[in-house]
């Protein structure tokens, strides 16, 4: 006879908001009349995400999460601690912004970037007539909400099983919405297939790792694992398990050599979805990575440290170098995200068992600023359009600054931030993680990272060169007038990029206070 575990609902409020909203979304889908669905779904999704954000902030405000306010609930399955809540808030916030991007209806003459009816085969007559239809596959909103919920669960999971469930909950909806592009459906569907197959493959690895760890320690609870690690570290089963778990997580975080899906999926998926993945998935994945490595295997750091060290270098180099020759902006940003994954790992390395290292805080901050910046960059991408959807080929951006100075300026801001130029948030983030790494004696890694970011700077600059220093094409793309949602997104992200670059103090403090994990 098992008695139900006691749940601290206050601590779970953010999650409840999201999953609640998702369920409501499903009901709306089932019962609301078609024309009312879209606004209703958007409303529900926003309520859910914003609610999650607010509740997370309230949670952080009301209790001292860095101290005794931190707890494990749901019978130890969920951790409620500074880092967890910070990441949940980040994900919820970025998720809300992504939802806004989803909801944009005035940019595309076809009224949405999502397919009217996914069931209709691409290219069929029905599909063509639906292309400009007002209909939208509004399921994307509940799906996205589920994904966000899954992500927030992912970063709070204190238990490998929960982590696995969360992984699936966040992945499955993503697989689907990747395939829901209104234009270029073939690419979109291909992206979905690739993402799905590889994702499933990766989660199988994760699962096998889980099993091995379970076998080695007799438990999937991170705290228990770390205990047995301290006593009997170096057990082959355990190590193998850890390896496979890392593989599964690195896949989600699109770290080389598990990055291969990233460019294809980023390019094929509808741009708002790409933005969503680039921003939120990364946050979630790294949240999980840190929880696993710090909480589960923190006492055994010298096992995984060299590995992460190497992976970080590979990821930075692969991302930076392959980005050089990309001609498609979405693909280029995909490689940039791979490089950034490497930079984030540099921050992850800034960790020592004593716990008072800046690595965690730095990574938290970096995740936030990177998410905002990349979201903004993709948001700009949605505005530059030609007859066939977004004009993502580099050559189409030539001389953009003369046609749309403001848009070009905003894009330049994001690119400079991604390149890590001072007075942008990107620099603050880079500085934080590199400081953490060097503080931990990993200065060679930091130097490699800096050189890599110099290489990466080249392809960011190339876009600036095109926008400003080249003469515009005769039949260049048009710059759509964004509706309210996209405008909000751009305003928020651009403002954040500047503010976090010039006066990042308060947010850094926040990350600093939030930087604790409970086992």
């Amino acid at each position: 006879m098992i008695e139900a575990p006691d749940l601290s609902y206050a601590a779970l409020a953010p999650l409840l908001f999201l999953f609640g909203a998702a369920c409501v979304g499903v009901l709306v889908e089932a019962f609301a009349p078609r024309e009312a669905r879209h606004p209703a779904q958007v409303a529900v999704a926003l309520v859910g995400t914003v609610g999650g954000l607010v509740s997370a902030i309230l949670l952080a405000a009301t209790r001292d999460l860095s101290g005794d306010g931190a707890e494990v609930t749901a019978d130890g399955a969920l951790a409620v601690d500074g880092a967890g809540i910070f990441l949940q808030a980040t994900i919820a916030g970025l998720g809300a912004l992504s939802i806004l991007l989803f909801a944009e209806r005035s940019l595309d003459p076809a009224r949405s970037s999502f397919v009217a009816s996914a069931a209709v085969p691409a290219g069929s007559p029905r599909d063509r007539e639906l292309l400009t239809a007002d209909r939208v596959q509004t399921e994307v909103y509940p799906l996205a909400t589920f994904a966000i919920g899954g992500m927030m669960l992912f970063v709070a999971a204190n238990d490998l099983l929960v982590m696995f469930i969360a992984l699936e909950v966040l992945s499955l909806p993503l697989y689907l919405i990747c395939g829901l592009a209104r234009r270029r459906r073939l690419l979109s569907q291909e992206a979905a297939v690739k993402y799905f197959l590889l994702g499933a493959f990766a989660s199988a690895f994760f699962l096998y790792g889980l099993a091995l760890v379970y076998g080695a320690t007799g438990s999937v609870r991170l705290s228990t694992i770390s205990e047995s690690v301290t006593t009997g570290g170096g057990d082959t089963l355990l190590v193998l398990g850890l390896a496979l778990l890392i593989v599964g997580l690195m896949f989600k975080a699109s770290v080389a050599p598990f990055h291969t899906w990233t460019p294809d999926v980023y390019q094929g998926a509808p741009t708002p979805v790409t933005a969503f993945m680039a921003a939120c998935t990364k946050v979630a994945a790294f949240g999980a990575i840190m929880r696993l490595l710090y909480v589960g295997f923190g006492t055994d750091e010298w096992t995984w440290r060299p590995l992460v060290y190497g992976i970080a270098i590979v990821s930075m180099i692969v991302g930076a170098v392959l980005g050089l020759t990309q001609t498609d902006l979405k693909r280029m940003l995909a490689y940039s995200s791979i490089a950034h994954a490497g930079f984030l790992l540099t921050g992850v390395l800034g960790f020592d068992a004593t716990g008072d290292s800046p690595g965690l805080a730095a990574t938290l901050f970096y995740l936030l600023v990177y998410g905002l910046t990349t979201l903004g960059a993709f948001a700009v991408l949605t505005m530059i359009r030609d007859g066939d959807g977004e004009a993502t080929h580099l050559s189409q951006w030539a001389g953009l600054a003369q046609r749309a100075p403001v848009v070009a300026a905003v894009m330049t801001l994001f690119l400079l931030a991604l390149a890590g130029i001072p007075l942008t948030s990107g620099f603050t983030g880079k500085f934080a993680v590199f400081r953490a790494a060097i503080d931990d004696g990993a200065w060679p890694l930091a130097v490699v990272a800096l050189l890599a970011s110099a290489v990466a700077a080249f392809f960011y600059l190339r876009v600036v060169v095109l926008m400003y220093f080249s003469e515009p094409l005769a039949d260049g793309p048009t710059v759509g007038v964004p509706g309210l949602p996209t405008t909000i997104v751009l305003a928020v992200t651009a403002a954040a990029t500047l503010v976090l670059g010039i006066v990042p103090g308060s947010v850094l403090d926040l990350a600093g206070q939030a930087a604790n994990l409970v086992g």
Binding site: L161, A191, V193, A211, G215
Partner: protein, 99 residues
Amino acid sequence: MTIAYYLVLAAILFTIGAVGVLVRRNAIVVFMCVELMLNAVNLTLITFARSTGTVDGQIIALFVMVVAAAEVVIGLAIIMSIYRTRRSASVDDANLLKY
């Protein structure tokens, strides 16, 4: 030392699945190979549950089955949609996105 046999078997099954993913072209089959991997894991879990004398393993296995079922639904939906467009379920045909 019977435990080892189960584990080895599971490992073999897992490897077969993984190799299958690499060598088969038909999306459905590839996906089935993934399923095979999952079930290999299940076997491992059950074995460990037995060896460690805890029920967690069995419970996890149940969870995995549910997840796998959900995955099947999603996966088949995606594969179906692309199949209806391309009239082919070969994963090698889907390579518009590259480099």
